[in-house]
């Protein structure tokens, strides 16, 4: 199993390159263009991360995060979610960069291979910025009556958080 994980990334890269060559794609040019797009993403998230990591560091230093985690701990424990992730779950539906900042802070504090670090990573990877997405989609389509879109999307988010903690316990 360890060997599969270790080889997963090189195998994906090699197969994609071969697949591209077979379909007459200038693989190297595509790689370079795409990588340039990665820099644009970084430039776009850096200013937001500076603002948000400052706020997250302040919250952590002030003891506010521990207080919130303590308040939500009994509820989260029954759901099987580590209470340390409460801040991440609160910002996840509202702002993608805030969630990334909060998650990165958890991953750095507890270690990327710890239970909490992995939970935070899986939560980030398996949920979306729900309210932002709904606002953009309904704004573009000129929708005033959103009906059940918000409750249904929030159900998916809550299920995603619980499933993230469950899946991490399952695999590690």
């Amino acid at each position: 199993m360890d060997l599969v994980f270790a080889l997963l990334v090189p195998v994906i890269i090699a197969s994609v390159a071969l697949y591209g060559i077979c379909h007459r794609v200038d693989v190297y040019d595509a790689l370079i263009c795409g990588a340039g797009g990665g820099l644009e993403i970084l430039l776009r998230i850096l200013p937001a991360l500076v603002g948000l990591l400052t706020a997250v560091y302040m919250l952590r230093a002030s003891g506010a995060l521990e207080l919130a985690a303590g308040a939500f701990a009994p509820l989260l424990d029954t759901l099987g979610i580590p209470p340390e992730t409460v801040g991440l779950m609160l910002v996840r539906p509202i702002s993608g960069s805030a969630a990334l900042g909060t998650g990165a802070e958890l991953i750095n504090t507890y270690g990327p291979d710890s239970y909490i670090g992995r939970c935070a990573a899986v939560m980030l990877g398996s949920t979306e910025t729900t309210f932002y997405t709904i606002a953009v989609y309904f704004g573009a389509a000129g929708i005033q009556k959103s009906r059940y879109a918000v409750p249904a999307a929030l159900c998916a988010d809550i299920a995603g958080f619980m499933a993230a903690a469950f899946a991490v316990r399952l695999f590690f």
Partner: protein
């Protein structure tokens, strides 16, 4: 504007909490550390993020997105029964979902918005069942390779930043399934 209130709230709450709990010195140090950590994080995740964006671009140019879209058609017809016969809308939705799967958020959003605009012509101003379903599918992250998160894990010193992939897939699958089920159930009980 929402973020303005949230950010101000976070900062003010920290200040009040720090004074109440006697953590003033730590708070002052934290304001500087946070800003520095953001830059360090961006630099240390830059390599892996750029590399994967490059690999995704190869997938896109090799027509992998179109291939996934064709595979998705039978499933999507069931999720969007109101538009199953509308080829134009179905193709746009398929392209949106396959771009999401490949983690091409920049490509996925315009496609999704186009599909949403076309759907809303049937029921102007009101989100029909299929439009609600489209929004739920786009708010539940369905991504094969979560590049950014892997970048953060790598930056934090993980030896195998991608070993969370199976867990991410399972969690995403459960989240999407619950979202779709909730939308289907609510579509039956929701008035107007």
């Amino acid at each position: 504007m929402a973020m303005a209130f949230i950010w101000t709230g976070m900062v003010v709450l920290s200040l009040v909490c720090a004074i109440l709990t006697g953590n003033e010195a730590a708070l002052a140090a934290a304001t500087l550390e946070g800003a520095k950590a953001a830059v360090t994080l961006c630099i240390s995740m830059a390599g892996i993020l750029c590399l994967w964006m490059g690999v995704m671009e190869i997938m896109k140019r090799a027509g992998l997105a179109d291939k996934i879209a064709r595979l998705l058609h039978p499933l999507l017809r069931r999720l969007f029964p109101d538009f199953a016969k509308d080829k134009d809308v179905m193709n746009t939705i398929a392209a949106n979902v396959s771009a999401n799967l490949l983690g091409l958020g920049n490509a996925a959003t315009p496609l999704g918005l186009e599909a949403a605009r076309k759907m809303s012509r049937k029921t102007p101003g009101v989100a029909g069942d299929s439009l609600c379903m489209l929004v739920v599918c786009n708010t539940a992250s369905i991504q094969l390779i979560p590049t950014t998160v892997a970048g953060v894990r790598m930056a934090a010193g993980s030896a195998t930043p991608f070993d969370i992939l199976p867990a991410v897939w399972i969690a995403s699958l459960i989240s999407v399934t619950v979202g779709i089920t909730a939308a289907k159930i609510l579509s039956k009980v929701w008035r107007n």
